[in-house]
């Protein structure tokens, strides 16, 4: 049995409770995820290997069979061509995984968000915190991947420095939209539909071959898809073929992310605050 000191421990005293700003709340949610991942660093580290393996296999192995491609009027090797595609695609895949399966698990199975909402945190804080964490994780992978590209001589311009923020933008846009989609999921079977969208985007967004492989309307459709915007943006940056048209991709992804974030907040309100 405990000591009489417990009376003091248990007595009400909420004077030290402080209101949280948005930034502070987001930081706390990132802290929570950091504590979880601190012990799973092996998983964290191996996550980086995935795009690297793709680059070595497709870029180098298959690349030996392919002639060079032209990007913005410049001849580049197949590996140089495909590496920025891998960079964008891995940001896309990472964001998708974080904001669908992981969020669904926390939302429906372990009821993590319910316990957070019993504290001063709001649904907006939760959405921002989860997305911010996904971005941190994604950008550390992206930074490592860019260094590998540099070491392999696959970077052609100083513009590549901006590829890191570009990857963040891709991750943000997809995290927000996918998290919004997740709020409509009812069970794990529904995730087959996510795969149904994920794989075609990954394979056909001019990741592995140039956009002029497509003709006419098909090409226009591909040019309007979000991952394609991300892939060309990264490719323009690492090969140094940036133009005003690159801004279209930036604005596209930015709008997508902001709209997604707004939807997530509204959906979390209706799901959790009943």
């Amino acid at each position: 049995m405990s000591t009489p000191a417990s009376t003091q421990l248990l007595a009400s005293n909420t004077t030290e409770v402080r209101p949280l700003t948005r930034v502070a709340a987001t930081r706390l949610l990132v802290l929570r995820n950091y504590i979880v991942y601190r012990d799973a660093w092996k998983l964290f580290l191996t996550g980086f290997l995935e795009p690297l393996f793709y680059l070595l296999s497709i870029g180098i192995g298959v690349g030996a069979l392919v002639d060079s491609f032209a990007v913005g009027g410049k001849e580049v090797s197949y590996a140089t061509f495909v590496a920025p595609g891998m960079l964008a695609a891995s940001a896309f895949n990472g964001a998708l995984l974080d904001s669908t399966f992981n969020v669904f698990f926390k939302l429906k199975y372990v009821k993590l968000y319910d316990q957070m909402l019993a504290t001063p945190l709001s649904t907006g804080d939760i959405a921002r915190g989860e997305i911010a964490w996904g971005q941190l994780r994604g950008s550390s992978y992206a930074a490592m991947f860019l260094l590998v590209m540099l070491a392999m001589g696959l970077i052609e311009s100083w513009w590549a420095v901006l590829a890191l923020p570009a990857v963040l933008l891709i991750g943000f846009a997809f995290s927000a939209v996918c998290m919004a989609a997740t709020t409509w999921m009812r069970n794990f079977q529904d995730f087959d539909k996510i795969t149904l969208v994920q794989l075609p985007l990954f394979l056909f967004s001019a990741t592995f071959f140039p956009i002029d492989t497509y003709a006419g309307p098909v090409r226009w459709i591909v040019e309007c898809t979000p991952l394609y915007r991300g892939v060309v943006l990264c490719r323009e940056l690492t090969t140094g073929t940036v133009s005003e048209a690159s801004l279209v991709s930036v604005v596209y992804l930015l709008v997508m992310g902001v709209v997604g974030l707004m939807v997530v907040r509204r959906r979390l309100d209706t799901l959790l605050l009943t």
Binding site: S2, T14, R18, L28, I35, V110, A118, T119
Partner: protein, 331 residues
């Protein structure tokens, strides 16, 4: 009545509580669930209540009575459909974060963070309240002591027993030293030993002056812990008062329980109807409400009836509930 919400002018302004130290004031509080375009469901239908500082207040009722819906509205995670609700004099729809900063919430199902260890569950949760790191670390250590979990500090949540998880959830709800602690069915699913340990801890909280609001469908729990309680059924309050007051007002001093062979209870009830103030027929026994239970047993035998088993006991809240609703509490 359930087809229309009462118009809100009927509900008195909750800003004028009867007592200055009221921490929860509800007037005409209503919760309606609407699933798409389907029929709506009224979980709480215009209840009035006041909970004062330092009180241990109970919601008693069977599953589906509206206890959890009311608790969720008080916790500020469920919008009020109609009526007025003030927590610490504030409106949860406006000042949600500020109110929640002063509340401790222990939900019906443990929603601990499965990915964090025991200590980090307290630490991370405490940080959500904006508490400084050092303060949270200190309190987390003390609360683990209080919850008798110090040795499990580094354990994963899924290694804990049901009772340990419950104690951790309660410890977690105390991390901000709340002014008001909400406990939804705190001992459901626990074995008797774990229940008594938990009751002891709740007594100590009460002693320390923390306002407790708990919901339960266990009569003994309500009698033990609550200074005052409301009995809820189908979304409305059917009785209110201290446990003993309620028993005195709605039941007799003693109850004689008589068990006969299967299917004989209804017939025997008629034969014994005059022995007590009232006779209730349950599927497995008869309850005779009386001032003197032994007398009822003696008279039963005099009439040549041979019950298979008998029991004389004091009236409890269970009997109050049966009287008020015609139903038993635990289904």
């Amino acid at each position: 009545m359930s087809d229309t919400l009462p118009d809100s002018t009927a509900a008195d302004a909750a800003e004028t509580p009867l007592h200055d130290d009221a921490q929860i004031v509800a007037r005409g509080l209503w919760k309606r669930f609407q699933q798409g375009s389907g029929p709506s469901f009224d979980a709480v239908k215009g209840i009035d209540l006041e909970v004062r500082k330092g009180e241990a207040f109970g919601f008693l009722g069977p599953n589906g009575a509206g206890k959890s819906s009311t608790m969720r509205m008080i916790a500020g995670v469920s919008p009020v459909s109609d009526g007025e609700l003030r927590i610490f004099g504030m409106d949860p729809a406006v000042d949600g974060p500020t109110i929640r900063g002063r509340l401790g919430v222990c939900p019906q199902e443990d929603n601990l963070d499965q990915e964090l260890n025991v200590f980090d569950n307290l630490y991370v949760y405490g940080r959500y309240f904006g508490l400084p790191k050092q303060v949270v670390r200190e309190r987390a250590g003390e609360l683990l002591e209080f919850a008798k979990l110090t040795e499990k500090s580094k354990a994963r949540v899924d290694e804990l027993s049901g009772g340990m998880k419950r104690r951790l959830t309660i410890a977690r709800s105390l991390i901000n030293k709340p002014d008001l602690l909400l406990l939804d069915e705190p001992t459901t699913g626990l074995d008797p030993q774990a229940r008594h340990l938990l009751w002891d801890q709740l007594f100590r909280l009460k002693h320390a002056g923390v306002t407790l609001v708990l919901s339960t469908h266990y009569m003994d729990e309500a009698e033990q812990l609550c200074d005052r309680l409301v009995v809820m059924d189908k979304g409305v309050i059917v009785a209110e008062g201290a446990p003993l007051e309620l028993i005195r007002a709605h039941s007799t001093r003693e109850v004689a329980e008589l068990r006969f062979g299967a299917g004989e209870h209804a017939a025997h009830a008629e034969l014994l109807g005059d022995l007590g103030e009232r006779v209730e027929v349950l599927p497995d026994r008869l309850l005779v409400y009386t001032e003197d239970g032994e007398e009822v047993l003696a008279r039963t035998h005099e009439r040549g009836l041979q019950p298979l088993a008998t029991l004389v006991r004091r009236s409890s809240l269970e009997d109050v509930f049966l009287r008020l609703t015609g139903r038993t509490l635990v289904d």
